[in-house]
């Protein structure tokens, strides 16, 4: 790690070399270069100070952009939660409903932000800006240059925007689909998730830069401001994954493979929670981080659950709309809080495992996979409980009247899901270890 710190200390006057080539060349060059007195009136340290200053300025630019990106995606996330409740309570008579406006304004502004980052980085690199090179940018289509996080987020947002007109057309062809699991809904969710991943990359890269250069002054519970921003962005991605998995809790509870029926919700949760939880611990290098990320998710969801019913009631009253059924008017309930707080259990399992194995042990994929599988056990219990509760109370929770609530899954469907949940938890853990390692080391 100290070798990385010394070798990546910025001297961005070297243009065109790959990261590996620069790292290979620098030790020999520094070892062989004779120590000379600087010429009178001009010190070699002057250029290094200028380079450091330029790097600091670039870091500030990217930090501000990362904060904006995380905020705009959180706005879109709020709009999505509002939209899902809006469909159930009011219906869909127009594309330009208030929640859609909130979603797409957030998405559009975030997209413009990513585009601006790509363009200004590209122009500065073409002009030979010494603060930019292959160590802190990626090349797109052989022409453009951008910070990696903003490139990923940009692709995700483009996917999401591309899905919108297709979704509209799909509704015109096939009617109002009452399932989140429709092709272009899922396309939008995958795009949104990719954008969330980009926001994590963007903030984690700056967190690493600040950490390695000693720029992080303020800390809370040992986490810098940029660390907390990264973890907040991770809670947003977790929110997106759990929202995408939601229909499996009550509308499509089983995966039907011929005569076999397998409970679906635990499988999706095991993969998603394992991925995010292990990645968080691996990124921060500290047990407790998984619980912190899920804690941030809980705070987000409780805030959304409190605000969304109020927004719906206000808009319905303002626009003179009607609820689909007399019982469709949304309310904040304690059940919603409980249904998100329970996710702290598997997060605590991850952190306990990291404490016992050592956070650094998660660098080994096998260890991370074992931890993911172990986490899947309490998660399985949580998931089964959520499925049975959601199916029994679906109408009270706002399920539209045209949706037929399936019958409760059988015991065999539940038990068949357990080994698959362990397998997917292991996969999530292994992937999370890799993701966390990249986020911890990446500065592009």
């Amino acid at each position: 790690m100290s070798r990385i710190r010394s070798e990546l200390h910025p001297d961005f006057s070297q243009q065109g070399a790959t990261l590996e080539a620069r790292l290979a060349e620098r030790p020999a060059a520094e070892a062989d270069a004779p120590r000379e007195s600087p010429p009178a009136g001009r010190t070699g340290s002057g250029s290094r100070v200028a380079a450091a200053s330029a790097e600091r300025a670039e870091h500030r630019r990217r930090t501000v952009a990362a904060c904006l990106l995380v905020y705009l995606l959180a706005q879109a996330n709020l709009g999505l939660a509002w939209d899902i409740r809006w469909h159930g309570a009011v219906g869909r008579d127009d594309f330009w409903t208030p929640p859609h406006l909130l979603i797409y304004s957030g998405v559009a502004l975030a997209g413009l932000l990513c585009l601006a980052m790509v363009l200004q980085t590209s122009v500065r690199r073409w002009r030979g800006d010494p603060s930019l090179d292959e160590a802190n940018t990626v090349t797109l289509f052989g022409v453009f240059h951008a910070p990696l996080g903003f490139a990923i987020a940009g692709f995700g947002l483009a996917t999401l925007l591309f899905a919108a007109p297709f979704d509209n057309y799909w509704h015109e062809l096939y009617g109002i689909d009452v399932a989140l699991w429709a092709p272009f809904h899922l396309m939008g969710l995958i795009g949104g998730g990719t954008a969330g991943l980009g926001a994590i990359y963007a903030s984690a890269a700056e967190a690493r830069r600040a950490r390695e250069r000693g720029w992080a002054r303020w800390r809370l519970l040992g986490y810098s401001g940029l660390d907390l921003l990264t973890l907040f962005a991770m809670s947003g991605l977790l929110s997106g994954l759990l929202t995408t998995a939601q229909p499996a809790a009550w509308q499509f509870p089983t995966l039907d493979l011929g005569p076999l029926r397998i409970l679906t919700y635990p499988l999706l949760l095991a993969l998603g929670v394992g991925l995010i939880g292990v990645a968080a611990v691996r990124l921060a290098g500290r047990p407790g981080t998984a619980t912190l990320v899920v804690g941030l998710y809980v705070v987000r969801q409780v805030a959304i659950a409190a605000v969304v019913p109020l927004l719906i009631r206000t808009m319905v009253a303002q626009q003179g709309l009607e609820y689909r059924t007399p019982t469709a008017e949304p309310r904040f309930t304690l059940a919603v809080v409980v249904m998100v707080v329970v996710f702290l259990l598997p997060a605590l399992a991850i952190d306990l495992g990291a404490l016992l194995l050592g956070a650094r042990g998660l660098a080994r994929r096998r260890t991370a996979a074992l931890l993911g599988a172990a986490m899947a056990v309490p998660l399985f219990a949580v998931a089964v409980g959520l499925v049975y509760y959601s199916m029994r109370h679906a109408r009270a929770m706002g399920a539209p009247p045209e949706i037929l609530i399936p019958s409760l899954p059988t015991a065999s469907a539940v038990w068949l899901a357990l080994p698959l949940a362990l397998l997917l938890g292991a996969l999530g853990g292994a992937l999370g270890s890799g993701l966390g390692a990249i986020l911890r080391q990446n500065e592009r």
């Binding site: 057309y169 009452v178 899922l186 994929r365 949706i403 037929l404 990446n442």
Partner: protein, 186 residues
């Protein structure tokens, strides 16, 4: 091969097998999450029946989910049902068949799906068998033209392409991580 690569590839292979199995699995009997688009009351011999159709109009080339339930006032319902879709006048097509299976979401009901292959009028001949013997009823339907964006194309564009992109990204990042780790752990 490094252990972690073996593990990762094994896990991904297992996941891919599961995904393939899910895609290749036949349409389950109860593949109807919504309420029926239309219901028709018919009588098949001694059995009063309610035939629920989950698309109105059904589209040519797509499966039409059907649920056959005992009608109101029926003392006993059929145990098995078979649907034969016969093309109507002017429709150049071959009859299609489907055997309905007990619907786990509706006790006493039988569910399945039949495919209307060509646009135009069709007759759904529902042959039932039960404690009161064999009987049949006919339900006329008209298959509408297929959607301009077939469902499978929608799923391919909507889910296949983005997931493909994500898988490519994961593979790319695996290579990037190997380069990063080679630098930190020579």
């Amino acid at each position: 091969m490094k252990p972690h690569l073996t593990l990762a590839r094994g896990l991904i292979a297992a996941l891919a097998l599961l995904a393939l199995a899910a895609i290749a699995a036949p349409v389950p009997a109860a593949a109807h999450a919504e309420r029926p688009a239309t219901s028709v009351s018919v009588t098949a011999g001694p059995y009063p029946l309610v035939v629920a159709l989950y698309a109105d109009p059904p589209r040519a080339g797509a499966d039409l989910p059907i649920v056959v339930s005992p009608g109101p006032g029926s003392r006993v319902g059929p145990r098995t049902a078979r649907v034969v879709a016969r093309p109507g006048l002017g429709v150049s097509a071959t009859p299609t068949r489907a055997t309905l299976a007990p619907d786990p979401d509706g006790p006493g009901s039988l569910a399945g799906a039949v495919r209307l292959t060509v646009t135009g009028p069709w007759l759904l001949e529902i042959a039932v068998d039960g404690p009161l013997g064999e009987a049949a009823a006919v339900v006329p339907v008209t298959a509408a033209a297929p959607g301009a964006l077939p469902a499978w194309v929608g799923w391919l564009i909507g889910v296949g392409l983005p997931l493909g992109g994500l898988i490519w990204f994961v593979i790319w990042q695996q290579g990037y991580l190997r380069r990063l780790e080679a630098v930190t752990q020579p």
